[in-house]
């Protein structure tokens, strides 16, 4: 691991801390006073300590192993799913007709793919996160099916699974597991996308106190047109210490309750076979027994649901890229130009190396995260899952585009699946939390954690616990390389620079912090996996070592560059200019330069 990076990251946390210590008595992060991104400092897993410059080796080395039974099981489970997808799924047709044929849907239900993680006692397969990720590698070969299944089980019914009571589980899970009922997750509204806490749909308690009446509309709901069971989020009035407040609650709503209307399916660029539509709720009566968790606790549940579904994007993208490598290399090996096959040209070779590297990193991150989530206890891997999602969605988009490039004109036609993969992949950086929001989440959650820990340590220091202080300083000396990073967050004499209080608005800073952390987690995953492969002697482990080294090299330089950019007055930092340009363009709502052909004389 890179000591330079580690020490510098440590210093960011320390500078932040400087501000907090000076604002005596203020324990809460200023960030949360605004109506902004909510972050909770829960029992986070591994990545949080990266913000403190610590690598908790015990959490990520060795790479998670699955039991012997599971190894056998995986082989058995994967075979029929692979067969189904290669023989009975016509992705071109699904894309063309913008719908998944009923026989295909039934085939998926029969295979048991609608209840992969639902416990066996409720009729599901009760499989672990790891096996779920493995199956997603195959399911991802058709984007529409992948999204339909994910909307159903990764988010649609997850609320019941993680926060529902026994009665709700018994009532709803069996039919959801078999696919008889399909689920949908209803949070987003026309006015509330990334800003999920601002939703306006309302649930008012009826006179007799037995029902809530839900009114409002939701947009971009996957499976919205065919879902029978929906997890709907709405504002409810609650009393907190005698004060009436509006808080979000989660409800299990059956279409059968009446009052629900679905709009027409959206005509999308990609994942066209997945049904996406508007839903309107008109005085929909929902029995009070259908509240998930507590009244007022809906937002937390929503975030937990979304956080838990993200990690599988790593394995989905990896599965898709692996398939693309097969398809594309066939072509590159046979197509000849200038009397050489394409595979002999450097720029083409680079594309294949990039695809292999990306698939390797995504797999490593996804299964490391899944392995952590499968550990007993309930570790909160939301930070890691977010990192996996950001890396995989962007890596996937680039790889798919480059794969199309290899085929040139042919790749651009509908005769080949590449253009469909490109269209299907464009949604990845958008849904399940936009990558912009997730970067904010990663940076802020980590910094909040670091801030808390360091505040604690500074308190100790103030109490006169010199030993601890020396320990901290000593450690820093040992790990630092002497160079100092001035983020410009504290000015002369330690006076707080105004920008620190609004760190949440310093998106360009946070973006780089998040990118550095994502790459550090990626490096961890890749090193952990390659070490395991060497230790147990997997086939082609030397290729893995090659991939791991190449990626880490590349990531190291990228991280360094970002760290350098983070220095406020560094020449590599164009942030001030970028903001100026953006301001002028946006004020005028147009490109403002005079045309180069104009004259003033």
């Amino acid at each position: 691991m890179n000591r330079l990076i580690v020490s510098r990251t440590f210093r960011i946390g320390e500078r932040l801390l400087g501000c907090h210590a000076r604002h005596a008595g203020q324990e809460e992060l200023r960030l949360q006073q605004r109506r902004s991104i909510k972050t909770h400092c829960r029992h986070l897993a591994y990545a949080k300590d990266l913000f403190l410059g610590q690598v908790n080796k015990a959490e990520v080395f060795p790479y998670p192993e699955i039991g012997n039974d599971e190894v056998e099981e995986i082989k058995q489970l994967v075979a029929p799913v692979e067969k189904f997808f290669s023989d009975d799924v016509d992705s071109a047709k699904i894309d063309r007709e913008a719908t998944i044929p009923l026989e295909t849907l039934q085939g998926l239900k029969d295979l048991g793919l609608f209840g992969i993680m639902i416990p066996e006692e409720y009729g599901g397969l009760g499989l672990s996160h790891t096996i779920y990720a493995r199956l997603n590698e195959i399911i991802a070969l058709d984007g529409s099916i992948a999204v339909t299944l994910a909307a159903h089980q990764a988010i649609g019914l997850k609320g019941i699974l993680i926060a529902g009571n026994e009665a709700q589980k018994k009532k709803y899970l069996p039919k959801l597991a078999s696919g008889e009922h399909i689920a949908a997750f209803c949070l987003t509204e026309p006015g509330s996308g990334s800003d999920a806490a601002s939703i306006q749909t309302r649930a008012t308690l009826s006179e007799d106190g037995k029902h809530y009446l839900i009114n409002g509309s939701k947009i971009w709901i996957s499976n919205g047109g065919m879902a029978d069971i929906m997890t709907v989020f709405a504002r409810t009035e609650v009393e907190v210490d005698g004060v009436k407040k509006d808080k979000i609650s989660a409800f299990i709503v059956e279409r059968a309750f009446g009052g629900i209307a679905s709009g027409k399916p959206e005509d999308k660029l990609g994942i066209r076979g997945s049904n996406t539509c508007e839903l309107s709720f008109d005085n929909v009566p929902v029995p009070v027994e259908n509240v998930i968790g507590e009244i007022g606790g809906g937002f937390k549940i929503a975030m937990n649901i979304l956080n838990s579904g993200r990690f599988s994007m790593g394995s989905s993208c990896a599965g898709m890229i692996k398939k693309l490598i097969e398809l594309t290399s066939e072509y590159a090996a046979t197509r000849k130009q200038f009397n050489k096959s394409l595979s002999e040209f450097g720029m083409i070779q680079e594309k294949f190396a990039m695809m292999a590297l990306n698939a390797f990193v995504m797999e490593s991150m996804a299964y490391l995260t899944a392995g952590m989530m499968d550990r007993p206890g309930v570790p909160d891997c939301s930070l890691e899952a977010a990192m996996v999602k950001v890396f995989s969605s962007e890596g996937g988009w680039i790889c798919v585009s480059e794969a199309l490039q290899v085929l040139g004109g042919l790749g651009y036609t509908k005769n080949y699946p590449f253009e469909r993969f490109v269209r299907d992949c464009r949604i990845l950086p958008i849904f399940e939390g936009t990558n912009e929001i997730l970067r904010m989440y990663i940076a802020l959650t980590g910094m909040q954690y670091a801030g808390k820990i360091l505040t604690g340590k500074i308190k100790e220091m103030k109490k006169g616990n010199i030993g601890l202080a020396i320990g901290m300083v000593g450690k820093k000396l040992r790990t630092s390389l002497g160079a100092s990073v001035d983020l410009g967050l504290t000015g002369k004499d330690g006076v707080v620079h105004p920008s620190l209080e609004t760190i949440v608005d310093e998106q360009l800073v946070l973006k780089r912090v998040a990118d550095v952390l994502i790459h550090m987690y990626a490096m961890t995953a890749v090193l952990s996996r390659a070490s395991r492969s060497i230790s147990i002697g997997l086939r082609n482990h030397d290729h893995e070592v090659l991939l791991a080294n190449t990626f880490c090299n590349d990531a190291f330089f990228k991280n360094n560059y970002w760290m350098v950019q983070l220095q406020k007055h560094s020449p590599e930092n164009n942030d001030a200019n970028i903001k100026k340009i953006a301001k002028q363009v946006l004020e005028n709502r147009a490109y403002i330069c005079s045309h180069p052909l104009e004259r003033t004389y």
């Binding site: 056998e72 099981e73 075979a79 029929p80 048991g112 992969i116 397969l125």
Partner: protein
């Protein structure tokens, strides 16, 4: 009648894999290569499970001869609906030399031990293409055989069979107990659904050795050499029949 059916399943290299010959020409590369159940064995399992679903037979027992990995193949049969499995453990040199004669002796012994009413096999395996095991098993047991079956129906204690032969279709009626080998058009095997795979984990697989059945698996055949088929040569276009004759004479074919 016991109502018990024995189904033989063989673990072979997957049909979609490109076969490569080992550099020492003693066999083909099997290490790290994808294996699965022989497609004709899948059809046999499907037929057996169908008969059970129609309540014409009571129990389906899947049998496979081979090393530890053969158990995976048995598990697939269990996931398709077989009730229990018997793994005849043959590994190493014995496994490399295992052929239809040895397997049919094993199946015959098992049929007697399990009091089977019917033995269902695939017509041939896609790795050795022998097309002998079914016939040999029937001969050893002195049972009637219905090979290349494309339709099977039970009628009391007799079986009506339609066989696909070179000349067309042959309809025969045979007594039970009997050996049937499945041909391509007999049925379309079902997918082993994930819930069934999970349920199959609870079904039993018993391991036995050939010696326990009193079978000697030494082979009477010795493989001398395995080589790739000759590369297909480029063809030549000729303008007239005379040219053709000249070229054929040159190549020494005429």
């Amino acid at each position: 009648m016991s109502g018990r059916v024995l189904v033989g399943v063989k673990r072979v290299i997957d049909y979609a894999v490109k076969i490569r010959v080992k550099p020492d020409n003693t066999g083909v590369v099997t290490d790290g290569v994808k294996h699965s159940m022989n497609p004709f064995c899948e059809i046999a399992v499907e037929e057996a499970v169908k008969l059970k679903e129609k309540k014409l037979i009571k129990e389906v027992v899947a049998v496979s001869c081979g090393p530890q990995q053969s158990q995976e193949t048995i598990r697939t049969a269990l996931a398709m609906g077989a009730d229990r499995g018997i793994h005849v453990d043959v590994s190493g040199k014995d496994y490399e030399n295992l052929g239809p004669l040895q397997v049919s002796k094993i199946l015959a012994a098992l049929a007697k031990q399990e009091d089977a009413q019917l033995i269902l096999l695939g017509k041939q395996a896609i790795d050795d293409d022998c097309n002998q095991t079914g016939q040999m098993t029937a001969a050893l047991l002195d049972w009637p055989q219905g090979t290349f079956a494309s339709e099977v129906s039970l009628e009391g204690d007799k079986i009506n069979l339609v066989r696909e032969i070179d000349g067309g279709l042959e309809h025969i009626k045979i007594n039970t107990p009997a050996v049937i080998t499945a041909d391509l058009r007999l049925n379309t095997p079902r997918y082993a659904t994930l819930p069934n795979i999970m349920k199959a984990k609870k079904k039993k697989i018993v391991t036995v050795k050939p010696a326990d059945l009193g079978v000697d698996v030494t082979s009477r055949l010795e493989v001398l050499k395995v080589e790739e088929p000759p590369q297909r040569q480029a063809g030549m276009k000729v303008e007239t029949v005379e040219d053709l004759v000249v070229k054929l004479k040159e190549a020494g074919r005429v």
